[in-house]
């Protein structure tokens, strides 16, 4: 296992600017490239969401923010175009899920931490790793470019259900916009696969001496299972995408059947849109765990370090990650209860879906028990980790309702769903990502971020995030369908309903705007600190894992001399009998000391 890790690569040659900062094959630099790209994408996605939130709160009113960003083409006289509304929602969702929370989150932290925490000099293949980043950048650019197409971006929702996504005549965004979307996603998947394969191989083969699987930090376990999920599920998305491309261009009928579009009777016959739903969600559900698991991994580490306590139930945590990973492949049908699928099959998916609640509950209780009788230091990273546990709970419990097919009949495709997945996936993963950035910033840039700004950022974000997504549950229970340009539909029918939906929508949008502005604090702190931040020390948080044994200044190969050997798990915090409240993994067990 560790032979490869032990050969000294002897990387001491001088690097040029280009090989160091641009076409770098160093995992730390690639991680930073992913991060910066993801931050940029996140800014775009947040702006998009603010734009359509303005429409939802003040429908049909002229707004100069809309004209500012969308111009006369898409917001004539400051009123958002109906088609563009759907385009904004679609691209917002796509960017958030794939580019920020898959590419951005895994790309940044798997790259940064897998070699550092496993004790490897770099990824198994630096070259593939570099290609993975450049494909990610290319697909990001294509996705952004699609916003500027004459016919608008893909607008069939991030789930791109056919036949809407197949025919340009059905919605303008299904023309060039959809082609661009499919192209971008295919490249994205290629990037993700190269990354994932690399992570898997590195974790399996390049651990340092003594780093048994059962001594790995939970971060690595989470990244590892995430990568496995990605390798098994993303190819299915590519197949789905290829079949869709064929339906669009070659006239095949995998997903379309007996359709009349714009008055024209089409000959395509025999396929089924439901097939696409199956293929899409076979990726789509594991995808939500691809988004979530890395965040859970990062925060496990952060909670333990800052509570100065071992993570409670280390083995149960690993078991839960594995169980969640496995189960996530057999629950996709919960997105299709009312798709026309056989109700009996629906019943089976109810069962498998609710099973996932068990490992999830274990994780939550283990987090909480880790805090119990801890000695908690509120670094910004710790604050965000607590935010994550809270949103994981709050979003998780509404999942229990949605998993119940009978209840899903009432709330499917309403804002209740939007609230649920934003809280459990969006907020948790974003909080995890923020926590990770605050915690490992010293490792990435050799500087410290400003803690007080971080705290202000956290509290504003937490309050506005719940301010946005809490009322959304009630909008959904109140019968507001998602992907609606406005709710005028209720006006002539049930005006009580209409009033309540509108009241809440205004509240939500105001919080959304506050929340979005609060992110400026983070951006400022981030960029300011990269240049002018306080210089970091080697182990600022007094952590145990291996990355804190590397020098502050980055170097190729990570450790100047031999790679250190590992003697214990990474969670020996406040161990009885030890002088300090932490014992790094590199410290051999003392005479008569039990491992844990």
């Amino acid at each position: 296992m560790s032979a490869a890790a032990h050969t000294d690569h002897g990387h001491h040659h001088k690097e040029s600017f280009i090989t160091k900062y641009i076409f770098s094959q160093d995992h730390k630099m690639i991680g930073k490239q992913f991060l910066i790209t993801a931050i940029f994408m996140a800014v775009v996605a947040v702006i998009l969401s603010v734009l359509f939130r303005i429409q939802l709160a003040w429908p049909g009113e002229s707004n100069s923010v809309l004209s500012f960003f969308l111009g006369d083409t898409w917001a004539p006289e400051g009123i958002l175009d109906r088609g563009m509304y759907l385009g904004l929602v679609t691209i917002h969702g796509t960017i958030m899920v794939f580019f920020v929370l898959t590419g951005g989150l895994s790309g940044t932290f798997s790259n940064l931490l897998i070699p550092l925490q496993c004790g490897a000099r770099d990824m198994a293949s630096g070259m593939l790793n570099m290609i993975s980043y450049w494909l990610f950048l290319l697909s990001s650019i294509l996705m952004l470019y699609s916003l500027f197409l004459e016919t608008g971006p893909a607008s069939a929702g991030w789930t791109v259900y056919p036949p809407l996504s197949v025919y340009e005549e059905a919605i303008p965004g299904s023309g060039a916009g959809m082609t661009m979307w499919l192209l971008s996603m295919t490249i994205f998947v290629a990037s993700s696969l190269l990354g994932s394969l690399n992570y898997i191989v590195t974790v399996l083969n390049l651990r340092t001496k003594g780093m048994k699987m059962t001594r790995l930090p939970l971060t690595i376990w989470a990244f590892f299972v995430t990568a496995v999920l990605g390798v098994l599920s993303f190819p299915v998305l590519v197949s789905a995408v290829v079949l869709m491309l064929m339906d669009r261009t070659l006239g095949t009928s995998f997903y379309v059947n007996d359709t009349i579009i714009a008055g024209e009777v089409l000959e395509q016959s025999g396929g089924s849109p439901v097939l696409f739903e199956h293929l899409f969600w076979f990726l789509g559900h594991p995808e939500v765990y691809i988004v979530l698991l890395p965040a859970l991994g990062l925060t496990s580490e952060i909670v333990s370090t800052n509570a100065r306590k071992p993570i409670f139930g280390y083995r149960a945590m690993i078991g839960s990650i594995l169980a969640i990973g496995f189960l996530s492949f057999i629950v996709w049908g919960h997105h299709m209860f009312i798709s026309g699928m056989n109700p009996f099959l629906g019943g089976v998916f109810v069962f498998t879906t609710l099973l996932i609640a068990i490992p999830s509950a274990i994780k939550v209780f283990n987090y909480i028990t880790t805090l119990w009788r801890g000695n908690i230091k509120y670094t910004p990273a710790m604050l965000f980790s607590i935010g994550l546990v809270s949103s994981f709970i709050t979003g998780g419990v509404t999942g229990i309702i949605l998993a119940d097919s009978a209840l899903d009949i009432a709330v499917h495709d309403t804002y209740f769903v939007v609230a649920h997945f934003h809280v459990v996936m969006g907020l948790s993963a974003i909080f995890g990502m923020f926590a990770g950035v605050y915690h490992w910033f010293p490792k990435m840039y050799g500087k410290m971020m400003n803690a007080k700004l971080g705290m202000v950022h956290f509290w504003l974000t937490l309050v506005s995030a719940y301010g946005v997504f809490f009322p959304m549950h009630f909008v959904g229970i109140g019968g507001a369908p998602r992907r609606y340009y406005d709710y005028s539909v209720y006006e002539g029918f049930d005006s009580n309903q209409f009033d309540m939906i509108m009241d809440l929508n205004v509240v939500i949008s105001i919080f959304a705007i506050i929340g979005a502005l609060a992110q400026a604090i983070f951006l400022f702190n981030f960029f300011y600190s990269t240049f002018k931040g306080q210089k970091a020390v080697q182990n600022p948080w007094k952590g145990n894992s291996l990355e804190w044994t590397t020098p502050v200044e980055h170097m190729h190969g990570n450790w100047p001399g031999e790679i250190p050997e590992v003697h214990r798990w990474p969670y020996d915090y406040s161990k009885p009998g030890a002088a300090e409240d932490y014992i790094p993994q590199t410290v051999p067990l003392a005479e008569g000391e039990e491992e844990h």
Binding site: V256, I311, L371, R373, I376, Y378, I401, D413, D494, K532
Partner: protein, 445 residues
Amino acid sequence: MGMKFVVLVVIVLAVIAIAQIMRVYELSSKIRGSREEDIDLRVNNINASLMMVFLIIFFGSFLWMWSTYGNGMLPEPASEVGVEIHWLFNVNWVIVIAIFFLTNGLLFVFAWKYSYHPDRKAHWFPHDNKLEMIWTVVPAAVLAVIIILGLMTWNQATGPASDDAVVVELYAKQFDWTVRYSGDDNKLGYADYKLVGSAEDKNSGDSYANPLGLVTDNSVRWRVLGLNNEISALDANIRKEANDSVAYSQANLNKMIAKVEKLERIRERVLDMTGMFGDSINSFAEDDFLTRELCMIVDQEYFFVLRSRDVLHSAYFPHFRAQMNCVPGQRTSLKIKPIFTTAEMRKKVDNPDFNYVLMCNKICGVSHSNMKMAVTVVETQEEFDSWKNGPLATNAINDSIVAPANIDTERMEWPEAAHHDEHGDDHHDDDENHEGEDHDDSHGH
């Protein structure tokens, strides 16, 4: 443009100003020798207290929203299954809220209580099998209850409709709904998407209309004749373009030829349909009638057959807690038994203008959010009958299927005579398998 520039300048200046303030802050903390990673005790305690403050506001605002908007937000369910769903929702809601309060409560209370103190050392507690067993088994037991209750309701909601359920078709297209009642025989007549034609369709080139594609003797003939018209019109264009040296475009020509070939293939498939339905071709459809509004009788069960003409739609009745996707090329179904009339519901919600509504709840295009239909629930069969005899309902065959223009329906020749073979009938798919085709044999359930 000027405006954008000003905004950008303001932002840049603001960033510079904040950066200067930060610089001062950093310098002063350098002089004091404080480091970012050392959170001082006072700040740490502030954060800990904020955890408690947040918890109180969090729970408080939840309770407030729950009482204000909670279950009262949609009026009480107005269908039989809706009542079951509503009950189940409340049961789950209580369980879920209990978990929510318990776990979030523990989380924030611990976060507040165990904040850092230099004199204390964290308690070494890496695992405890008994505890972990408890929080594996207890959730599993709760989930078992949820699953069993849920599946019972699910089976009820999706199980077969009763024998006296009235069969009604809901036909979705961008961006409206059409209702077809099955009439006295309670059987829907056959329908086939190839027969759909409506005067407003921009490509039909004739005024043949058959909004739902019903299969009848006449609709098959008329569709073929309509296709003939379209084909000859196209042929004329092709000849004109081919002989016109100015406007000549090979690409355009090829497109038109391909179109003609396609229409011929469709015509061939339509012609084959006559044989498939035999003598019963008209019988089921004769008494069907169409409306653009749904009217139901209270306490009567309805079995809806859902179809879509173009893309996915979803029939969503918020007040009945009922929803089902409409899938092109497939038939899905939904049953509803309304339990309150519109008039009763108006009293309940204290709103004389209240009406039930059917909405589309699957993104289906630019006007998705406008795709709705009014729904009324009346008390008696008599009321229903008078509604049916009113202006809204039209007979599915006599009133809504219209012959194409330019043909003499009195002396109509059967289309074979007009068979068109300029472009080579030899590429018909003679071996086309019609058995596999979707020709609507699900009249009923």
